[in-house]
Amino acid sequence: MSGYRLPAGGRVNRAAPLDFTFDGRAHSGFAGDSLASALVASGQMLFGRSFKYHRPRGILGMGTEEPNALVTVDRGGAGPGWGRRTPNLRAPSVPLYQGLTAQSQNRYPSLKFDLGAVNDRLGAFFPAGFYNKTFMWPRSAWEKLYEPAIRRMAGLGASPTERDPDHYDATYAHCEVLVVGGGLAGIDAALAAAADGGRVILIDEQDELGGGALSDQALWGEVADKTMALRRLGNVMVLTRTTAFGYYHQNFVGAVEQLTDHLAPAQASGARERLWRIRAGEVILAQGAIERPLVFDGNDVPGVMLSSAGRALAVRYGVAVGRAVAVMAVHDSGWRDALALKAAGVNVVAVIDLRGEVAADLVAAVRGAGIAVHLGHAVTQVAGRHGVSGVTFAPGGTGQGQQLAVDALLMAGGWTPTVHLWSHAKGSLRWDDTWGAYLPDVAQENCRAVGAGAGAWDMGAGLALGTLPGPKPIWQTKAFVDFQNDVKARDIDLAVREGMRSIEHIKRYTTNGMATDQGKTSNLNGLQIASGSLSKPVTDIGLTTFRPPYTPQTFGALMGHHKDALFQPIRKTVIDGWADARGAVFENVAQWRRARYFPQGGEDMHAAVARECLAVRQQVGMFDASTLGKIEVVGPDAAEFLNRMYTNPWKALAPGRCRYGLLLREDGFITDDGVSARLAPDRFHLTTTTGGAARVLAMMEDYLQTEWSDLDVWLTSTTEQWAVIAVQGPLARAVIAPLVEGIDLAPGAFPHMAIREGTICGVPTRLFRVSFTGELGYEVNVPAEHGRMVWEAIHASGQAHGITPYGTETMHVLRAEKGYVIVGQDTDGTLTPDDAGMAWAVGTKKPDFVGKRSLARPDMSAPGRKQLVGLLTEDPQEVLEEGAQIVADPDQPVPMTMLGHVTSSYHSATLGRSIAMAVIADGRARDGQVIHVPMPGRTIRARVSASTVFYDPQGSRLDV
């Protein structure tokens, strides 16, 4: 026997030794071990430090309930800045692999000698809720002294600080029956369900099926046979190392499968974890039950653990939990465990049971195995700090004590059925006195519980206790309920004394059940203790709600595919690659990326934009406008429909002509705009803003389908059907003329605000003669697949005319020089058409349109509304900051009365000065007035212009 490894037995592969380190010390174990079993086998009983008092702790359980033995596992990096460190892993759930590197947590400088343990000595000053009562004086010390100190104490392990080289997979799955839990109850349920022929998925969190049966050698054969039977069925999918963590509406269950963390890093390839999003016809929960610790003075000394953990170590892993082991039971299962340990070769010296009477066959069997029996007794004291060195027990817990030299103590406090997923799905629970726990009652979904989780498993009989009886008053004991959060029985008692009467308050006040195990071992004990303190039945105190996840789940798995480049689609036009190759600087607009400007020879944005602007004004520029939203509106009632949607009239628009459309929400505020064309009596080509495309289409569909379903008209998104190339500038016609066929470009034949169909570069085009620059301009629409070719052809044709590609920033400046509004920049969701100076776009004779009635509300036309105006700074070289606020009196005290703000502001190379637009209260009436823009440390003066048009107010450059 090396260390605590039993000479034989267990499910580990003794032919496959594995080396690993814990806190830098080398250990070895076997394939099939967990980190916990391998460490215990090496004689390591101290695993970590508790959260608040830094008390030394060993393992409590050998499953997902483990609150104490949390470690950090480092799987190595992949170069500088990349790392695979994971904190707070439960050692019993960490499968051992060759080279595993684990560290203990929440201790400094070492696990054995931890300075933080001073908290334990001072524990009397840190009862539940202590932080509410202190750290308030002097007031300034909270920020400077107390809070920083509290924050430094926070946390268990350390967060990763490097990027994660691993990636994560996700999938949906569907089945007729989903079974959660692969113990014998779950296996049987899956076999039965499979017989119906439907798809069955069986999920289990461990690396092999069997659940509790893995700790019972007598059942191994049955588990093996049935597992084989399952694997042979074509309609059953078995997912091991997979945790069903959440049960959502209509049998939607989330689960995470561990794919590589059980392998040595060198053997691991592919995704680290996979998220399963499962929709099941029926869900069968077979989650089993978790053993309850007993609450008594000293129950947290390393070496005191759940009886089931001692059994799992012995039977499943072939590890003795100690050289001399005692069992403190209030439940039959402890007796059975004692026999199992003995059979596995562990020296069990005594079974102590608080009950005066225990089933005679158990007593006889235990006595027969040479184990001392002490009925009607309870452990009253545990000796040792970093490990158990002995226990004292006494009749009734209060009588004359006797000592027992043991180095491990197993607690058999009864069983808590695992009803987490049941509760996620809003299934109701009922209290069961024999289990001393809540059991599933009425399901809200097509779901049932089986096995121990349903209370349908023979775990034996026992008591349900708050605390073991002991010689000391509760407030003098260190009897732990929530081990990780250091919640003691006396904390719960204190909470009750301070007026916390609901279990929710007790939980929040003491933090009982709020540790990383989410109360799997503490909830029921806490409830029983509160029940005692309040002298009320458990059922009157309530139960805290179980919420997903059942066990903690990696952010990475839950984000699935959406990592790095796959986080969100970035939409690019067909011309994007051309711009990218020419060094364009891009900006994100809604989901799109758009070229913002095309710097040349080290230009900054200012210089590039000035050059691009002048080129458009003097020669010609080209611009990728493909991101504009487009909707094709077709049907006999198309014009009628648009007439109802937009503020302006549409019925009289002739085919071949365009119109600017302004769209309001029903509350009267501007939501979108765009130039649209009538292609035929029953066919329109609408444009929307880039960011508004989806919103406008959805809004129009809503009105069409639910208000005006009698109209014969249909909407089709054509945003991505058409690439759009704006060719703008006095030479625009000359640039496109050689490429266009079938369209008479002469001004008389093809005037401003018209559309023609023909071909360009041999491909079909919808050619708009429109301008967002104030210059002669065309917007060339071609099927997207030809967009790049046509763009390059126009660029080539334009070389003779000095054509200049420009981006969104230049587009913004050019349109601002003309006073054209950008919806979303110069307007926000609070401006009416009149506010935006666009009363001209409202068809006053129309009886109705979307938003019209709202414009008649009292406040929508009240004096003092903010109106869009132009602003010219007194210093022509001063460019106001967009978003800067405007006041009438810069000398007033703070808080100042603000009149409005700057919406758009640029240096205009064309005008040789700055220009700006602003929304200002009663702005148009302030024409010519000086207003002030207070900036930090100085104030800028500017003059209001009721008109926002700074360039070519007659529009003469358009009509050429």
Partner: protein
């Protein structure tokens, strides 16, 4: 993720294909100009927001594209039924 029966597709489909459309059976007044400010406020903003049985609109946006109505319990989130737009309130 809810599972929603689309009355047009005649199938249960996942919630992510649908867009919620707010309370159902609030018809846009035929002649808004004749409404008082209070009546117009009621149309625009006032909602029953019941705890329990709720008539609501959904659109199978990423499916058949149609708006339809549903009756759902807002406490359990369970759908009682769904029905096509234009059918009377259930």
């Amino acid at each position: 993720m809810l599972l929603i029966h689309c009355p047009y597709c005649e199938e249960d489909r996942p919630e992510v294909e649908f867009v919620y459309g707010g309370e159902a059976h609030i018809a846009r007044p035929l002649d808004p100009a004749t409404l008082s400010d209070e009546e117009w406020e009621h149309y625009l903003y006032i909602r029953r927001n019941p705890r329990g049985r709720h008539h609501e609109r959904w659109r199978h946006t990423h499916g058949c594209g149609r708006f339809f109505n549903a009756v759902r319990d807002t406490v359990s989130d369970r759908f009682e039924q769904t029905y096509k737009a234009g059918e009377p309130r259930k």
